[in-house]
């Protein structure tokens, strides 16, 4: 990959070297548009939020903000809503991660075995439909699906299967232990096709002779999966686990759309609390909200580094 593209040997004079250096810096022009956006709306804001987190900045208060040192962080660490919010996010992550990794892995192995080309494409296409529906639209759909009044899920449970009566029917997104699992199920549904494609790309790179050889040696399905498929999917698997861990801990749109700002609901996690503080409560204490954001991000980063460590040691 790192082959140099100046294979045409030319007489190298001082002028020529200067010209080469100039030409290579000019190559940076290709990165300028991307970097303007990347720095302007990602790198700079993150640094800015970090700085705000050390001030008593309230958006709606007139006058300049004052530095308060670590006060926001001290307060946040003692704030029960922060601790509870992090725990709730962690609980959701634990419910969501296994489903969103293993179900697509299982499906990918199945789709990979479909020998009929057309059927294989058809399965892939159907499974990928949710991947072309934007996340928030998925959340809106499932908010309706779980709805008490018109939701088809409760209709199925009450009127068709008679497992519940109208009184006892589960309130999926209400104040109950069901809210986070219900959202996790929706997330798995949403990522089904996309993650299956991820694994299929990994499976496609495994030479089929390996399976044939294993079969000749009398390996059963499980042994073939464990000794042939799994080691080759490991890199894809690890990246997915880490990426999805990150997205699960930082979920916010789902909670805002499905739960709103009710503190009693399990969906009121640290992310919702941060938004609530920064853009709605009182005079918008954004200094404190920024500190909570950074505490959450730091907690996540610790786990991400930890995960990378574990995975690296295993190889």
């Amino acid at each position: 990959m790192a082959t140099l593209r100046t294979s045409t040997a030319q007489p190298a004079g001082a002028l020529h070297i200067g010209w080469q250096a100039l030409r290579h810096s000019i190559n940076w022009l290709y990165l300028v548009p991307a970097l303007v956006f990347f720095i302007g709306y990602q790198v700079y804001p993150i640094i800015q939020v970090f700085l705000i987190s050390f001030t008593d900045y309230h958006y709606l208060r007139p006058g300049p903000a004052a530095w308060v040192g670590l006060q926001n962080y001290v307060n946040a660490l003692g704030d029960p809503l922060v601790g509870q919010g992090l725990l709730r996010a962690a609980a959701f992550t634990v419910m969501f991660l296994p489903g969103t990794i293993f179900v697509p892995l299982f499906l990918a192995i199945l789709v990979d075995r479909v020998k009929n080309k057309r059927l294989s494409v058809l399965y892939r296409m159907i499974l990928l439909i949710p991947a072309v529906i934007p996340g928030p639209m998925i959340f809106i759909l499932w908010k309706w699906m779980y709805d008490f009044e018109i939701g088809p899920i409760n209709h199925l449970l009450v009127d068709v299967l008679h497992l519940f009566t109208f009184r006892t029917a589960p309130q999926w997104l209400g104040n109950s232990a069901l809210a986070l699992p219900a959202i996790a199920v929706m997330e798995v549904w949403w990522g089904l096709g996309y993650h299956t494609m991820f694994f299929l790309a990994g499976l496609a790179s495994i030479p089929h002779e390996l399976f044939d050889a294993a079969k000749v040696d009398g390996a059963n399905e499980w042994k073939m999966f464990w000794h042939v498929t799994r080691p080759r999917l490991q890199p894809v698997l690890l990246i997915l686990v880490v990426l999805r861990f990150g997205s699960a801990m930082a979920v916010i749109d789902e909670y805002l759309i499905m739960g709103g700002f009710n503190r009693a609901l399990p969906t009121y996690t640290w992310t919702v609390y941060m938004w609530h503080l920064g853009f709605q409560l009182g005079d918008w204490f954004q200094g404190y909200a920024a500190a909570i954001g950074w505490i959450g991000a730091a907690a996540m980063l610790v786990v991400v580094v930890f995960l990378f460590r574990i995975f690296r040691n295993r190889d």
Partner: protein, 296 residues
């Protein structure tokens, strides 16, 4: 392979229980499971589609298949939800701008990162990869609000487009990098020997070769921008400049124009463009995914 073809011909699709021609219990289990999962994917979408063409009465009975169809909701919402046309226009403008800007940035950057000499390339790549593991979108929110506020871009369309470009920028660049890596550097060398500068190499030699990757970019960025909620919810509070997802998320089975079948009709109109675009471009999309977009 020949075996597979002969199996496919005589409607092996309808998995009958006749154990002839090698249709085994294994196949039945395999296809049965896949059909089951496909049904799970399709049923919620079928439900909301049926809801959008149910009569108002049927919508509240909970039954899946309506007794009376009513196709008037689609027309009705345009006349009765005052800002709907504006919201849809907002969504279209924001999405198109975001897709064009992000894809352009990603193609230029991906090309340079793979095929040009670039001092400091490793730094750029590690920053991009690093940003994937950081909850950037969430943490940067407060400062993005401040920036847009100082630039007087709160409650404006352009104020949404600018941060939208960054939502998928890192991943888009890495996708394009993966795609460009599939192209042999000899092609660049050959173009150079023919006297092409890097710009002409990209435009006339490379672009046709990476078209599948660009289709992946367009679809990925379309989906994100078209449905973006958090930034739109935070940076706008005027119903007339909001995008459709924000409007829909706050609409919850009320009366009149907010009746269930009517908001379901809006819903269908919002998700159909993406599904149709995908159906049309799926061949190239799948190819692009396999060509390297998934090998980030």
């Amino acid at each position: 392979m020949d075996f597979a073809k002969s199996l496919a011909r005589p409607q092996a699709v309808a998995v009958t229980s006749r154990p002839r021609r090698g249709i085994s219990l294994r196949d039945i289990l395999l296809h049965g499971t896949l059909i089951f999962f496909c049904a799970i994917v399709i049923l919620p979408l079928a439900w909301v589609f049926l809801l959008s063409i149910k009569s108002i009465g049927d919508a509240y009975t909970g039954s899946f298949w309506p007794e009376h169809f009513d196709f008037s909701h689609y027309g009705y919402v345009f006349g009765h939800i005052p800002t709907l046309v504006q919201n849809m226009l907002n969504s279209i403008v924001v999405t198109l701008s975001t897709v064009v800007l992000t894809s352009t940035c990603a193609v230029l950057a991906g090309f340079a990162l793979v095929h040009l000499r670039l001092p400091g390339r490793a730094l750029v790549v590690s920053l991009l990869v690093g940003s994937l593991f950081f909850p950037t979108r969430l943490i940067s929110l407060i400062a993005i609000f401040e920036i847009q506020n100082q630039l007087h871009l709160i409650n404006t369309i352009i104020g949404l487009i600018l941060p939208y470009v960054t939502l998928n920028l890192a991943i888009s660049i890495l996708i394009m990098r993966g795609i460009f890596e599939q192209i042999s550097p000899e092609i660049v060398d050959a173009a150079r020997i023919d006297g092409c500068g890097s710009w002409r190499t990209l435009r006339s030699v490379m672009l046709p070769l990476v078209i599948n990757g660009i289709i992946v970019l367009v679809i990925v960025n379309f989906v994100t921008a078209w449905g973006e909620y958090l930034l739109a919810f935070t940076l706008t509070n005027d119903q007339a400049v909001r995008t459709v997802p924000v409007v829909l998320a706050s609409a919850f089975g009320g009366m009149g124009e907010w009746d269930w079948p009517r908001i379901a009709a809006v819903y269908i109109m919002v998700i159909v463009p993406g599904i149709v675009a995908f159906a049309v471009a799926q061949r190239w999309y799948m190819r692009g995914l396999l060509e390297g977009a998934l090998k980030v």
